[in-house]
């Protein structure tokens, strides 16, 4: 065991004699490490800027992550199942464009919401069918649809923009439920609970893990692998549609460049949350903390007027760090 290079030979899964106590397990878990970092960043921010501890400022700052996190929850399940969807930002563009067209045709807020969610579902279905029915690799399919969906928006809009969304529609991205609690924050919280329950407390959740760990074994265990993946693609599309509603409402307008580059931030959030990019493991609480952590870091650095490029470097290093650290620890343990 000590001579074997862990990268070259597959390490046999070790079955311990006795499971650790749940409390010890929780302490050693990824989520608690992440939570510790988040609390640390929060405290640092309090010292670094006199403007950090302000209810309205913090409330505004939640927009840095709420829309991305909505997609990240669905994306987490998708990545756990061993697939990925890189077209989410382009789905937002297409949903937003579709809503713009409906708005121009005189559609009210209700119809706009249905259009956004419906378009998202359709896009998800398109990705899902290509992956599950034709057996194409999801990374290739969604890189393709990434250009396709946004391309359609560019064809419809060119260098123009849709503006003049109805007053009621502004509620989603600019409204407050109570004091500084925004509508988006409430949606974020509800979704966190729903996705947490689905992944960790239902049969479907177990199936997602099973598919991600070993889809062949899952198939022979009677799990309808294709159907599970299809549902996850639909869910990701639907969440992208929801994010499109919030973002469009917040911007009050649609341009084809809307949400450009957001897919990578969503994937970053998921991976930072401890979801294995190879599939099979991860948790929703991890993604929730990662979302808040990313929001805290960008807001904190923003308050110090740190240039955006330095911020990107910081988040990049953080991501590499959190992926590398557990691996390094494992290697160190293997050597002793």
């Amino acid at each position: 065991m000590s001579l074997a290079d862990p990268d070259m030979t597959p390490v046999p899964r070790q079955i311990p004699d006795r499971l650790g106590s749940p409390a010890a397990k929780l302490l050693k878990s990824w989520e608690s490490l992440l939570l510790l970092v988040a609390v640390g960043v929060f405290i640092l921010n309090c010292f670094a800027s006199p403007y950090f501890l302000d209810a309205w400022g913090l409330s505004d700052a939640t927009f840095n992550f709420t829309e991305k996190a909505m997609i990240a929850f669905a994306m987490a399940l998708l990545i756990i199942s061993g697939e990925i969807d890189l077209s989410v930002a382009s789905i937002i563009a297409l949903c937003s464009t579709a809503m713009g067209l409906v708005m121009q045709a005189g559609g009210g807020t209700g119809l706009l919401v249905l259009t956004g969610l419906g378009t998202g579902l359709l896009c998800g279905a398109f990705n899902g069918v290509l992956v599950t029915r034709l057996g194409l690799p999801s990374i290739v399919v969604t890189i393709g649809t990434m250009s396709l969906f946004r391309g359609i928006s560019y064809i419809v809009l060119g260098d123009g923009a849709f503006r003049g969304y109805p007053e009621g529609f502004a509620w989603f991205g600019q409204g407050y439920v109570f004091w500084v609690i925004t509508v988006e924050m409430v949606i974020f919280t509800i979704l966190a609970i729903v996705f947490g329950v689905v992944l960790h407390k239902t049969n479907f959740g177990r199936q997602v893990y099973a598919v991600g760990n070993n889809s062949t074994a899952a198939l022979f265990s009677g799990i309808r692998v294709g159907r599970v993946k299809m549902i996850l693609f639909l869910m990701t599309g639907l969440m992208s549609g929801l994010a499109a509603i919030c973002l469009t409402s917040r911007l009050g307008s649609t341009r084809p460049s809307i949400a450009a580059g957001m897919e990578l931030e969503v994937v970053t959030m998921v991976v930072l949350g401890g979801v294995s990019i190879l599939g099979g493991s991860g948790s929703i609480p991890g993604v929730v903390i990662a979302a808040i952590l990313m929001g805290l870091v960008t807001f904190g650095l923003g308050l110090l007027n740190v240039p955006g490029i330095v911020m990107s470097i910081f988040i990049g290093c953080m991501l590499i760090g959190v992926i590398a650290v557990p691996r390094l620890i494992r290697m160190a343990r293997g050597k002793t």
Binding site: L44, F52, G302, L303
Partner: protein
């Protein structure tokens, strides 16, 4: 752990220092489309110049990494949280920034746009680098200044449907009377394509052997025309002028194919935006149609019905200043 504690203490000290240093200064944020663009770095230089003149002003030069509206919104949100006194922004999106900038104004922050504007409800005023009449006048003036005896000039424009160019040429024709002896012999269109513009310029020189100047109010056309003049060996006979970018025109100025050309001066733009933001935030001026707001060494800007105003004549670039600006934009 010890190191971490030190780091924490250091960060805390830094935070406190940053907190006190800016206690009474007016903080004006210059928000640009994206950091790392020469044009905007030059504007920031102008803003610092204005801050130096005013004394009690701190400039926060900031912007997103990519030219996205979402990135600018994050930046504006953090500026609102810092309770800056004024935001002067060159916007990535006319409409998408409006809700966020409205929120900034509701919280008592002065908001103006410059260079690339925001829809009227999202700002108090907009500063254009120049205006159509000023540009129209400038391009003919540049040609006429080098032709004291009068002469024949031709226009090399972009496309027949280019809105900006057509307006500028119309404005130019309106003031032709102020420049006696200057005849406009032809207007041709190079479609903002380098090769077509080049051929059109060649054609002009063949059709009008006595041509004295080519006016190209487009950055593509002016470079192509200067190249055509140099290739035809007519440097000194035909002067190319119009609107162009210093970085692209440096060669033409050096070879003499172009004696001078014009475009906005980003340093002045940053300077003027800062001055206006200062005056509005101090309450020394009100942003309303017809108001005149001071811009320091650049005089005053007068606002029109949409609360926008023009800074100045386009800035003239020639052999005396091209080296300074060619590395900027």
């Amino acid at each position: 752990m010890k190191h971490f504690a030190k780091l924490l203490a250091g960060a805390a000290a830094l935070g406190l220092m940053a907190g006190t240093a800016s206690a009474d200064d007016m903080r004006i944020a210059l928000v640009v489309k994206a950091l790392g663009i020469g044009f905007f770095e030059a504007a920031a230089k102008g803003a610092e110049e204005a801050a130096g003149e005013l004394g009690d002003v701190e400039i926060i030069y900031t912007g997103p990494t990519d030219t996205t509206a979402e990135g600018q919104i994050e930046v504006i949100n953090s500026l609102i949280a810092q309770r800056v006194d004024a935001i002067a922004i060159s916007a990535n999106d006319t409409d998408a920034l409006v809700p966020t900038l409205k929120k900034a104004m509701q919280r008592g922050i002065t908001v103006i746009s410059w260079d690339s504007g925001v829809a009227p409800e999202g700002r108090q005023m907009h500063l254009n680098p120049s205006s159509n009449p000023l540009i129209g006048n400038m391009i003919i003036k540049l040609a006429a200044d080098n032709l004291p005896e009068g002469g024949d000039v031709a226009v090399l424009s972009a496309t027949t449907t280019s809105t900006n160019q057509n307006i500028w040429i119309d404005e130019m024709k309106k003031v032709m009377g102020d420049y006696p002896g200057i005849n406009l012999v032809a207007t041709v269109y190079g479609d903002d394509l380098a090769d077509k513009s080049y051929r059109e310029a060649q054609g002009l020189m063949q059709s009008y052997p006595d041509l004295d100047a080519i006016i190209a109010p487009t950055s593509v056309g002016i470079v192509a025309a200067a190249q055509a003049v140099a290739d035809a060996g007519k440097v000194g006979e035909v002067n190319v002028t119009g609107l162009g970018l210093p970085s692209e025109m440096a060669g033409a100025i050096e070879s003499g194919a172009s004696k001078s050309f014009a475009i906005w001066n980003p340093i002045d733009l940053g300077y003027a935006a800062t001055m206006i933001a200062y005056n509005l935030a101090k309450g020394e001026a009100e942003a309303e149609p017809g108001a005149a707001i001071g811009m320091g060494r650049l005089g005053e800007v007068t606002l029109d019905d949409t609360n926008s105003g023009a800074m100045a004549d386009p800035f003239v670039y020639d052999s005396s200043n091209i080296d300074e600006f060619k590395s900027i934009f």
